[in-house]
C-alpha cells in the first residue's frame, strides 16, 4: 500500500527541516527543539521517574540530534527518529555508573488529611518505590518496562525505539516484570499499587 499523500507531505517537511538544521539554520534548530521537546521530556521522564537530571538529558538528546541530523533521510518520521536518539541517550545515562538516588520523595506524616492529598502521597510513594526497583535493573530492562508497561507503548514501538527486535523487547519486559514482582512480594505497598493498575 502506498503512503497517503498527507504522510508524504509531512515527511517531506521533516526532511526539509532536518536539512535546514544540518546547514546550521538556528531558527530551524529552534523549531525542531520546540516541536519535539515535549516528546523527549515525556520519554525521559517515564524512564527516569522524575525531573531530576532531566534538563541535562534533554540537552544531551538535542545535541545528539543536531550532531546526527545529516544522517536523517526521512526513512522514519522525524519525531520517531528523535525519540530513538532520546532512548539511546537515556540508555547511555543509565549505563554510566552512578550512586543510586531516591527520585521521588514524600513524607506522608506531613501531608494534610484531604483525600486528594492522600492520593497524591500514595501515588508519589508508589512511584518512588517502583522506580527504586527499576533503578536496580539492567538499563535495557528498565527502559523496556518503563515504555511498555508504565507508558503503555506497543511492544513493537518500544522495539523500534530501542533499536532491537520484538523478541528481545518482550524478553526484556518479561525479565523486568519478574524483578518488579519479586520486590512487590516483599513490599505490600508496591504490591497494592501494582494491583491497582490491573484492569477493573
Amino acid at each position: 500500500m502506498s503512503p497517503q499523500p498527507n504522510a508524504i507531505a509531512v515527511q517531506h517537511d521533516d526532511v526539509e527541516l532536518a536539512t535546514r538544521c544540518a546547514s546550521g539554520d538556528r531558527s530551524a534548530q529552534l523549531q525542531l527543539f520546540h516541536d519535539h521537546k515535549s516528546r523527549v521530556h515525556a520519554i525521559l521522564y517515564r524512564i527516569l521517574g522524575s525531573n531530576r537530571e532531566i534538563e541535562d538529558l534533554v540537552q544531551d538528546t538535542f545535541l545528539e540530534v543536531f550532531r546526527s541530523i545529516e544522517s536523517f533521510r526521512g526513512q522514519a518520521r522525524l519525531g520517531t527518529w528523535v525519540s530513538t536518539i532520546c532512548s539511546r541517550v537515556a540508555f547511555a545515562h543509565l549505563s554510566r555508573k552512578r550512586p543510586a538516588v531516591i527520585d521521588v520523595e514524600t513524607v506522608p506524616e506531613m501531608v494534610t488529611d484531604a483525600p486528594e492529598s492522600d492520593a497524591i502521597a500514595f501515588s508519589r510513594e508508589a512511584a518512588r518505590r517502583l522506580y527504586a526497583v527499576l533503578a536496580k535493573l539492567d538499563p535495557k530492562y528498565r527502559i523496556a518496562f518503563a515504555l511498555h508497561v508504565i507508558d503503555g507503548r506497543k511492544m513493537q514501538d518500544v522495539a523500534a525505539l530501542m533499536e532491537t527486535t520484538l523478541v528481545a523487547t518482550k524478553s526484556r519486559v518479561w525479565r523486568a516484570r519478574k524483578e518488579v514482582s519479586k520486590h512487590a512480594r516483599r513490599d505490600p505497598f508496591l504490591a497494592s499499587y501494582l494491583a491497582s493498575q490491573e484492569p477493573s
Partner: protein, 312 residues
C-alpha cells in the same frame, strides 16, 4: 501483573524557566561548538552559563531571594533575584529568606541555592545550614544535598552540617527523609542522622539562635549571591596576569574559587600555589587544606597534599 498500567503516574512538566534554561544551554552549546560532542561535563558547564544568563527571566517568573543582616538593621535587604545563587560565608553566618522557607548559612560555609518556581534545592559544598520550611502540601519537597547525602522535606526545622565526606542532620521540628546511597531513613524531631554518631557541633548549631553578623563583613561576600560568575573566564584572566600583576591575579583566582565546579577547583589550587610562590605560607596552607576538603577528588589533590607536606 497487568500488561500496561491503567493510570500511569502523571508526567510533571518542566517549568517554563527550566525549559528556557535547556533551550539557552542548547543554543550556547551549538554556538560554541560546530560539531558538539555529547560530553556531560561540558554540557553541565553550558547549562550553568545558561542559567546565569536567564537570571532576569526568573524575575518575571516571580522568584526571589532576600538576604537579611539582623545585626545591621532589622530590614531584609533584597540582594538578588535569580534562579541560582552561590553563597560563601567567612567568619559570620548569613540569614536568607526564601519563598516558604528561611535559611541560615553558617560561618565558613559554601552553599548553592536554586529556586525555580516552587522547586527549591540547596546544595552544601562545605559547612552547614539551619533551615525552617513551611508545610508544602501541594508543592515539591525542598531538597538539600550534602555530598552523597540527600534530605527531602515538606515542612520542618532542621540543620545539616557537612565536614569533608561526613554529613550530619539534626531535626528540631517535624520530620525529614534522609537518603544515602540506596538507603532512606526518616528523621524526626529531636533525632539526628546518622543516629549513632556524636554530632556535638551539629547539635549546637541546631539549638543555637541565629548568630550575630559581623558588621565589617567583607563587601564582596555581601554582593556575591547576586553576581553571575564565569569561573573559567576569571581563571584564564588570572592565569594571564600571574607574572605581570600577581595581586590582581590573586583577586581573580579568589573570585573564581568561590564557585563550584572544575574551574572553582582549579582557581582555588592556583590561588594557593601563587600565595606559596609569594612566601605567604600560612594563607597558602589554609587554602590547600580547603581545596582538599571541598574537592576531595579534584585534579590537584596529589599536588595539594605534596605542597602541604613541604610546608609542614
Amino acid at each position: 501483573m497487568t500488561d500496561s498500567f491503567q493510570t500511569p503516574p502523571p508526567i510533571e512538566d518542566l517549568s517554563e524557566i527550566s525549559w528556557k534554561r535547556v533551550e539557552q544551554g542548547l543554543m550556547n552549546a551549538l554556538d560554541s561548538a560546530p560539531a558538539p560532542q555529547v560530553a556531560s561535563t561540558s554540557l553541565r558547564r553550558t547549562r550553568v552559563v545558561g542559567a546565569l544568563a536567564l537570571a532576569c527571566m526568573t524575575v518575571a517568573a516571580g522568584g526571589f531571594l532576600v538576604v537579611s543582616r539582623p545585626d545591621r538593621n532589622s530590614d531584609e535587604v533584597a540582594v538578588s533575584i535569580q534562579s541560582t545563587s552561590e553563597i560563601s560565608t567567612q567568619d559570620s553566618p548569613t540569614s536568607i529568606v526564601l519563598r516558604g522557607a528561611s535559611l541560615e548559612v553558617h560561618s565558613h560555609s559554601d552553599v548553592a541555592i536554586e529556586q525555580l518556581g516552587d522547586n527549591l534545592a540547596i546544595q552544601i559544598d562545605e559547612g552547614g545550614i539551619t533551615m525552617h520550611v513551611e508545610p508544602r502540601d501541594h508543592e515539591a519537597p525542598v531538597t538539600v544535598s550534602a555530598g552523597n547525602v540527600q534530605i527531602e522535606v515538606v515542612g520542618t526545622t532542621f540543620s545539616v552540617y557537612r565536614e569533608m565526606s561526613q554529613t550530619h542532620v539534626v531535626v528540631a521540628e517535624g520530620i525529614v527523609a534522609v537518603s544515602h546511597g540506596d538507603k532512606r531513613e526518616l528523621v524526626r524531631a529531636g533525632e539526628q542522622w546518622p543516629a549513632q554518631t556524636k554530632t556535638t557541633e551539629a547539635s549546637a548549631i541546631a539549638s543555637s539562635p541565629v548568630q550575630k553578623v559581623d558588621p565589617a563583613e567583607d563587601q564582596e561576600l555581601r554582593q556575591a549571591p547576586g553576581k553571575p560568575v564565569d569561573a573559567r573566564a576569571l581563571f584564564e584572566q588570572a592565569a594571564a596576569k600571574e607574572h605581570s600583576a600577581p595581586t590582581e591575579a590573586l583577586q581573580l583566582y579568589r573570585r573564581a574559587a568561590k564557585t563550584r565546579g572544575p574551574w572553582g577547583a582549579n582557581a582555588l589550587f592556583a590561588q594557593a600555589r601563587l600565595l606559596l610562590a609569594q612566601s605567604k605560607t600560612n594563607k597558602a596552607k589554609t587554602l590547600l587544606q580547603r581545596y582538599l576538603r571541598r574537592f576531595p577528588s579534584g585534579p590537584n589533590v596529589a599536588d595539594a597534599q605534596s605542597l602541604l607536606k613541604e610546608i609542614e
